[in-house]
Amino acid sequence: MHGTSVIKRKIPLTAVARVAIFPPLLLLIIWTRFCFAEDTFTEQSLHSLVAQLSSASFAKKLTLVDEIEEVAGEASLPILEAFLAGQLYYLKQEQDKVFQAVKIEQDNYQILDIYTTAQVEYIDKQAFRARYKKVRINNRLRKKIKLSLSRISLSSGSEASKMQALNALMDGVDESSASLVESLYVKERSKPVKKLMSVVLAVHQLKQATRGATFNQQTDDQTEKQKITQALDLLDGRLEVSVKVALINFKAHLEDLTADDANYNHDLINPLLSKTNAIIHSIEEEINFFLFVEKLFFGLSLGSVLLLAAIGLAITFGVMGIINMAHGEMIMLGAYTTYVVQLLMPNLINYSLFVAVPAAFLVAALVGIVIQRTVIRYLYGRPLETLLATFGISLILRQAVRTLFSPLNRQVDQPSWMSGALELNPVLSLTYNRLYILAFSLLVFIALVFVIKKTSLGLNVRAVSQNRDMAKAMGVKTEWVDALTFGLGSGVAGVAGVALSQLTNVGPNLGQAYIIDSFMVVVFGGVGNLMGTLVASFSLGAANKFMEPITGTVLANILVLVFIILFIQKRPRGLFPQKGRAAE
Amino acid sequence: MSFIEQTREFWRRDKTWFSSGQTRPYVDVSHQVILYIEGLSVSFDGFKALNELNLYINDGELRCLIGANGAGKTTLMDVITGKTPCDQGSVYFGQDINLLEHSEPKIAQLGIGRKFQKPTVFAAHTVFENLELSLNTHKGIWFTLVAKLSTAESDRIDEVLRTIGLEQQRNMLAGALSHGQKQWLEIGMLLAAEPRILLIDEPVAGMTAQETERTAELLTSLAGKHTVVVVEHDMEFVRSIARTVTVLHQGAVLAEGSMDSIQNNPDVIEVYLGEEP
């Protein structure tokens, strides 16, 4: 596959993340700034050019943009970007003072210095309207700026930014940008960039042919045909949307020709048409494949969330037979622990999760042990009462969180290493947070299986779950084993909460969203079987995500529930039942 | 029986409204054999609980099943009463009723009663009510909603109460009975149902010597009118009641015959009796 070689990171969302992930870029920017600061003449001329923007005519602005680009080079990027986004404003009083204005929330504007991006002032709508006026822009100007922007990033800048610029360019490639790319092609050293450049040119070629070529009997332009064939070869297997659009347009054009013009050139058009068709077909197949992979990934991701949520339950419900309706609240406590940990170490968000995981485990495990010692202990052998009592506890915990923190959702920050996406190709990109959580869920699962199968606690747990009285007679302290097992299950739920805080909103009702699903997973997988829980969560997650495009989220949810209800008919003990007479 | 069949049964033309008295199908015992078990195999997870078992029970006989733990005695009862499905083989009640086709309630309605190892009586009901529920009457929903106890049925319950010696406790909650009394009540519940076959699993476990003796008396008196199959570990008890004894070993019949012949059978001595000190 061609696409997989092009591995790069998308620009992250938050400013913090940008700084952390792109130290080289930042350094570059600082470095260029530094260079230009040396050359005061350049800086001054830039200032004077920008100052002219406010009063210049559109025609004048066109040349000004060129000049700005020429004078400032890469330093002009933020200015031009702001201009393109319509964020350049000037003071009504002093027309040569130009600023960048960013709208914050509904009615407030943040005014930034365009050179330093330092905040100048923060004002409301009315004051803003009264004092500032927009630097006007039209479509020609926009096009010009776009070209300038891509020229700047294509000629200088890192490989990643070049690739990005090329991708942005591809859709609207025209004569001027094509010649720009062509001119830069010779100088370019990086192979992937060169490859992408040739793709851009091929797309341009195709677009031109779509617009101009007639391929009738009179013209027998073999070179044209050869060029197009070459371009088609280049485009084979590319997954970019613009490539596909260009191909489809070209195909439509050829078909139009064969329909309209009776005396079209068969020898010329037919091979081209069949080639185009074949390429489109193969591209679509590949896109479909990657869409399938993406769906699978989403399914696995949902599965990992389900696994995390259910695995603690698989211990308390599956192994101990205790129905813990407060299980969801253990997850919630874990998420809130993450929030508190981040509050305590605001400058070390990147490391916060490493603290939060053990902290959440301890908090949830402690709460779990307290619940077990104070309530559940007295309800052994009365599963329905246990269910009700733990539900009461879940209400109390939820309300406690509401009172302590707030009924509103809390903001849990994402460490920079978790943001962004692994972009495998233009169709398929896997977000890091989901990837990490997938890996994390498996890690937790393996750790738990290890604890149950290999440690003495696990041995005791299994003994108690199989025959409580016998275990007691053998000297196992069943009371303690119960408390510890419950603590373990709750602690794992807390850990799950840390992971979930990275995916969803952290609020008092966080746990409620998962409790029913978790129970379904455990029941589906077979009570008392960790492996069953693993298989069940991933298969349910995948099933959900594959149904979603057809049925919609809600209906997919419902169908999965209905499926499980029916499944229980066939196999009341789940996928992997405990076997033999002992199970009865 | 599906709901429709049940309604149909309920509306049957030849029946008076809400008539009690379940009409049982005719059981063909023209060959003197009431229970045919042939080639029966059941396995749990590869463990063969029953292995090609063949057993014939004659109408009206008292048969004792003995065997070590895991010999398949309880599993055999489970299969006969429809609790456990079997892998292969056949179980016929009389000449032509295939028990494997029927569910547990249906088999009970056909006239096969069962007593469990652990006494199970309905703790929240009185002794009288326990017996009332066991009577051989209609067991459909609509009937039970309006059922009234007829004089004949009431007499029948009194008779059973006398037989099992719980007349004093008739209005006591069954949950308050002693262990032995519960065992008796459960046997009484079987009697009230007037079954053709009684399958009795360890009836004297936890009984005093005196109670055991009375149980032995009762069971021997039942034989003839009913067919009785008893599973028991207590060899003394078996000796006191048994006419024919069948020894099960590893899911198959090891030996069959009178108590004396069994005791002298070298195979039995080796695998079962030999183990006893």
Binding site: I323, V554 | A176
Partner: protein
Amino acid sequence: MSTLKSLFIASLAAGRLTGNGIQYVTIILLVTVFICSACNLLIPESSAFHVSTYTITLLGKYLCFALLALSVDVIWGYCGVLSLGHGTFFALGGYGIGMYLMRQIGDRGVYGNPDLPDFMVFLNWDTLPWYWYGMDQFWIAIVVAVAVPGLLAFVFGWLAFRSRVTGVYFSIMTQALTYALMLAFFRNEMGFGGNNGLTDFKELLGFDIQSNATRVALFLSTALLLIAALYLSRYIMKSRFGRIIVSIRDGESRTRFLGYMTNHYKVWLFVYSAALAAIAGILYVPQVGIINPGEFSPINSIEVVVWVAVGGRGTLYGAVIGALLVNYAKTKFTALMPDGWLFALGALFVGVTVFLPDGIAGYLENSARALQAKADLDNTSEDSLSKDGTSKDNNPKDKPTEEVTP
């Protein structure tokens, strides 16, 4: 409180009314209901004895909840099947009557469309969905509102009981059921008004739904239906059918070996229970004036269970007492300290299950029996053995107490 308790116990013991709590509750209910209605209709608003329509509606709501609690008690208390999805049947019944009330609005809606309810006009629908046909007729609507939940209960119960899904599994499945339906009813495409549900009702059977008289009539009919349901349920539970249900609770496999098709018994009891819940829903919606998917939310269903637990399961009238008490407490609590209610409810869940497993009714009956046993012990010391055995027996839910005395 303690004097009240001892008074109650004494009266129970003196009148040998143990097990006749239903009569007590019925009398108290009837008296209260008629007094309240009379005070609302006959006494002028200025008087101190006037009962406001708001109070009447509130009481009516409580009575609906009591009926809902009764339906849960029938299946949980007597058959040991804990349904955490009875809100489903309640809400479906409510939607049934809601559809009728919606059709009665006619062209008086905001859009003034005589053929379509407002929300359908809003969604640009041009025809009425097929399942709305016939809902303009009161009796059809009532039959549908009871039959649909009944059918759902039949299908679900049949599937669940046939494959012997019991205990906690069943509870979780019912919870999943109500959760799934909640999700479904939130969808606009379902044709039940989506998020907002059905509301803005105008009249019921031609009577203005806001008027005092209608409110009082609804209140009275709720009370009467509740009493009817109490007596019907008592009849069922006292019949042989009821005793079989209790047998199923205490030993399903034994009951099966006695020849009873336990699945059928459970299914039909479940259907009966669902129908009661649906009737509660039918009575509830005209009084509160709205039905929305929130009624399906699992927490509502589980709250009903706690009413029953507080009142005492397996006693029928206990469920009524529990529902009335807890809901009264809820109203008072949420008015005084809104944040505290969930704490209190949570504590109630824990407290009742741990400290008062038989609920209020069970506690009172146990006390009454103990008192009576003591009195009997004083009279005759010979027969004390069996008496002690009876009272020590761990919580027999259905007490055939009348026959105990020799």
